[in-house]
């Protein structure tokens, strides 16, 4: 089942009088349950493509469907609903809310989905999955980088989204921790069948993906399956 469809997408940025083409005619289809990497050097358009798939940015032209929904015609409120219900995010700098505890951070997407019952149970269960059940009352500042990214993974996963988007999730971690995080994501992908799309420019991390789509200068430069 197609979970993401990106057709002929272009994205232009205007920097003063200069027009920068971040994406040019990108076509991409992602099937449900894939564990996919978007690779490419800095400035190749990885983050922009992830932002467009994540309904954070609108393309200049083209077509984008997420889980069958044409997202380009949605209002900003409707896009927020799509993000809350169908998409989980993992960020390079973890982006946990510093005033909230680990458990409260993980609970946030459930609050957005207006779930009333069983929130504590879901949070505890997902924290166990990422190996942080003992840290639920800790504040993010009391955790290491790898632990923080695990919290971010738990937060992305707790609302059972269709897709999890991770923009350079290992860029701020050492190689071993980065590999651990990727392996954790892969394990969760297998266990829950959640689609993971992550961006990276690290060849070793890229090797862990089932499929790698390579971008160069805003265009698709390769699309290969590694399994």
């Amino acid at each position: 089942m197609k979970i993401v469809y990106v057709g002929k997408v272009t994205k232009e940025f205007h920097l003063g009088s200069t027009v920068v083409n971040a994406l040019r005619d990108i076509d991409l289809t992602v099937e449900s349950g894939e564990f996919m990497a978007i690779a490419g050097p800095s400035g190749s358009g990885k983050s922009t493509l992830l932002n467009i798939i994540g309904c954070i940015e609108r393309p200049t032209s083209g077509e984008v469907r997420i889980d069958g929904v044409d997202v380009l015609n949605l209002s900003s409120n409707e896009l927020a609903q799509v993000r809350a219900a169908r998409i989980g995010f993992i960020f390079q700098t973890f982006n946990l809310l510093p005033v909230l505890s680990v458990a409260e951070n993980v609970e946030y997407p459930l609050h957005l989905k207006r779930e009333r019952d069983g929130k504590a149970g879901k949070v505890a269960s997902i924290l166990k999955e990422v190996g942080l059940e003992r840290f639920s009352r800790h504040k993010p500042a009391e955790l290491s980088g790898g632990q923080r990214q695990r919290v971010a993974i738990a937060r992305a996963l707790v609302g059972s989204p269709s897709i999890i988007l991770a923009d350079e999730p290992t860029a701020n971690l050492d190689h071993n921790t980065g590999t651990e995080i990727l392996n954790l994501m892969k394990g969760l992908n297998k266990k829950f069948g959640t689609t993971f799309i992550f961006s990276t420019h690290d060849q070793k991390i890229m090797a862990l993906a089932d499929r790698v789509v390579e971008l160069r200068d805003g265009m698709t430069a390769g699309d290969r399956c590694t399994t």
Binding site: N51, I56, Q81, F91, N95, P98, V99, Y108, L112
Partner: protein, 407 residues
Amino acid sequence: MYNLRLAFKNIFRNRTRSLITLGAIAFGCISLIIAGGFMEDIFFKLRESYIHSFLGHMQVYRKGFFEKGAARPFDFMISDPVAVEKRILSVEHVRLVAPRLEFSGLLSTGDTTVSFIGQGISPHEEKELSNFLFISSGENLSGGDPYGIILGKGLARSINAKPGDPLVILTNTKGGAINALDVTVKGVFYTASKAFDDRAVRLPIGTAQKLLHTDDVQTLVVLLDRTDNTGAVMKNLSAMFKKDGLDLEIKPWYELADFYNKTVALYKRQFMVLKIIIAIVVVLSVFNTMNMSVLERVGEVGTIMALGTKKRTVVALFITEGLILGAIGGIIGLAGGYLLASVISYVGIPMPPPPGSTASWTAQVKVVPGVFLYAFVLAIATSAVSSFYPAFKASRLEIAEALRHNI
């Protein structure tokens, strides 16, 4: 509930800044409570001073006296005043009724003669009605001495009269003839009104009636148990006069106390300026805090919006933070205001005599629920209003751009 918890936690992430903001809000509330309570105390004391000095809570006249009585004082007299007094006393909340008969004339020591305004009064009733009339020398009127009079301080000074001095009163009778009476100065008094003290003479009403050749009076001054009952008693009295076919009218104290009304209007205008200044201080303080908070949390706002938080929820989050700041600052302000008001009231503020008065007094800070409520509402409303722009600004952030800021 989750948003409230988040807002609460966000407020205290920068404790020093939040404490300074709370201090500004609390200071605003305390200022309002002290200034408002001080003003209310002045209003209360001035009002009671006027009521108990001479106005009473209301005055009953023959219809037309209030309009034309100054020119023709004897054309609008209340006949059979004793019967009317009894009827008024039968109404609930009425404590006493004091008849008055006013006239003007000349007062002579033999060497010096001055004009005066005379008040024929019932000494027994006026003792209770004139709580704010103080005897500075000699003694007050009593029922036992029909030819003893008391003089206002200013008037006594102007003719150099002292207790025990003989004087002659010269006046026109009701019928227009001239009549004179030998009297003795029994005492000298002063009230809150210097103008009154400069011209007033008080003598027993029986003596005044004899001097003016009449059994009638012009005014029945009514004193109640509480000032708050003025409206209700007026209504009952009007109904009773109508039912009994009495040709009488009633004027409440607030229509008679012109100086009081003008003082209240002046103070209220000054208080309004203070309210505006305090509102501006609170608005600027909370605005600064919320604006700084938004600037520091750009990445965080981007994150929660990326996770699916709607713009209006972001606005609500920041306004809730402002409201919580206002509420906490307001509560601290109310507690501080109450404490300070109690201490100031216990110690007392020595005040000089008000304009037109000779008596100094001690002011307090009245604890008025209305002022407290106003201060609290002002703290919350200004905090919410000043949070609005920063909140709106936060909600307009571009998510992708905001995410580039580190948390």
